[in-house]
C-alpha cells in the first residue's frame, strides 16, 4: 500500500518538497542525497526542512508553486509548473509544450 510507504518513509509530495526532489531526480538522474541538496539550495532552506510540511507550506505559497490547499489566485497545475521550472532551473516537458502551443517559443 503506497500510503504506508509514504507515511513510513515518503517526503510527502506537494505538502512538502517531494515532487520537487522527484523532478530533480528525473531530470538530472541524481541520487537522493544530491537531489535533496540541489532542491534545498534552490529553495534556500536546509535539507531537513524539505520534509517539513509547516515550513514548506509557507514557502510553496510564497513561491507560488502549488500546494494541497487550493486558494483563489494561487497558481495551479501548469501555472505552478512554470514557477517550479524557474525556481529549480530545470526544463519541464509539459511547460515547454505549453509554451510552444501558445507560441511563446
Amino acid at each position: 500500500m503506497a500510503v504506508i510507504h509514504e507515511v513510513a518513509s515518503g517526503m510527502g509530495g506537494i505538502r512538502t518538497a517531494g515532487d520537487l526532489v522527484a523532478r530533480v531526480q528525473m531530470s538530472k538522474a541524481m541520487k537522493i542525497k544530491e537531489a535533496k541538496k540541489y532542491v534545498a539550495e534552490k529553495l534556500g532552506v536546509s535539507v531537513i526542512d524539505l520534509s517539513d510540511s509547516y515550513l514548506m507550506k509557507e514557502l510553496r505559497e510564497e513561491l507560488d508553486i502549488g500546494h494541497v490547499q487550493v486558494r483563489d489566485r494561487a497558481s495551479y497545475g501548469i501555472e505552478a509548473k512554470f514557477n517550479i521550472s524557474k525556481v529549480l532551473d530545470i526544463k519541464i516537458n509539459s511547460v515547454e509544450n505549453f509554451k510552444r502551443k501558445v507560441k511563446m517559443i
Binding site: M1, A2, V3, I4, H5, E6, V7, A8, S9, G10, M11, G12, G13, I14, R15, G18, D19, V21, A22, R23, Q25, M26, S27, A29, M30, K31, I32, A35, V47, I48, L50, S51, I65, G66, V68, V70, Y76, G77, I78, A80, K81, I84, K91, I92, N93, S94, N97, F98
Partner: protein, 349 residues
Amino acid sequence: MSKFFTRMGDGSAVFLSEAEIRRDLEEGMLDAADRGKIPELTDDEMERLYQIITDPQKTVSIERGNEVVMTFDAGTLKLPVRAGLPVDRMTTVLTHERVLCSDTMEIGNADYSYKQLKNIVHEEAASMEFTQLNCIIPVFYGAMPNLGLYTKPDGPVDNWSELLPMAKIGEARAAQEEAIEMAVKDMVYIASILYEAGADGINFDTVGASGDGDFLATLKAIEILKSKYPDMAIEVGMAGEFVLGMHGQLEYDGTRLAGLYPHEQVKVVEKAGGTIFGAVINTNSSKSLPWNLARAVTFSKACSEASNIPVHVNAGMGVGGIPLTNTSPTDATSRVSKSLIEIGKADGL
C-alpha cells in the same frame, strides 16, 4: 522464551524467538550474498535489521531527514481499475497529488503492454495532455515491454515457450530475436508520442518478464529514445531479481544479459541511458519476513552502491521483502520501507 510477532512471506502472522529471527536474518542475507556474489551486510547492519523486525511499534518509520521519493507502476490503474472507484484518470492523478500526497504518478492503460497501445496511443496522449495541464507532480506514462505478446497466438512470431521444451533451441532463439525488433519499434513509437504529449517520464515496467530478450528490447528502445529526446526521464522497473535466460546469449554492449542480478542490471540500464532503476528482489512466500527482508536489503545495498543513477527498489506485493498478498500488512510494509532505505540505501521506492 519470549517470542516476537512477525510475518511469513505470504503475509500470515507468526511468532518467532530471538534465535529464530537472527537465524532467518543471517540465512536470508547469506543467500543474497551467495547468489549475487555481493558483499554480506555488516554486523551493525544485521543488528539494526533485528531491531527493526522486533520493534514493538506496529508501524515503524525512517529517521527524520532520511525521507525518499516514490515512483509508481500501474499508477492510474490502482483507483479506477483495481479498487473499482468510478473516477477518471485525471481525478486519480489529482487525488494522488492533493490527497495522498504522492511525489509522482503514472498514467497507464488497463492493457498494460506497449504492443497493445498502438491503436489507442492518440487517446492516451490526449489524456496525458489534459492531465499535465491540471497537475503539479511529475507524471510518467508506463507500460510493459511484454515480449511474450509477440508470439503466437497473440502475435506473429513462433512461440519460444513451446519451441524450447521441444529442444528447438535455434528456432526459439531466432523467434526471440525477431520479437525484439518488433518490440523496440513499438516501444519507441508509443513512448515518443506520450513524451511529446508532455509526459515527464516514460516507465518501462516489469522488464525481463519474458526473459533476456525483453530486457534487450528495452535497452535498445532506451538508446533510441535518449538520442531523440536527451531530456527524457526513463525509469526501468524490473520483473525479477535475475534476468531469465530464455535466449541465453543476448548481450548489450558486450555484457551477457541472462543471469544478471540487480547490481549488474543497473549498470547496463545506466549505460543505455536510463534515469531511474527499479530494482526487484523476489519475496519467497514460504520464508519469514526476517529472511526475505535481510535478503532484499543485501541486494538493494549492493545495487545502490554500484549505481550512479537513483535506485527505486520495488516494494509492492511479493517483491522487495513485502509479503505476497494483495493487502500487505502495514507492520511488514513499514519495516520493509525503513530497512530498504536506511540499510539498503535505496534512493526511492
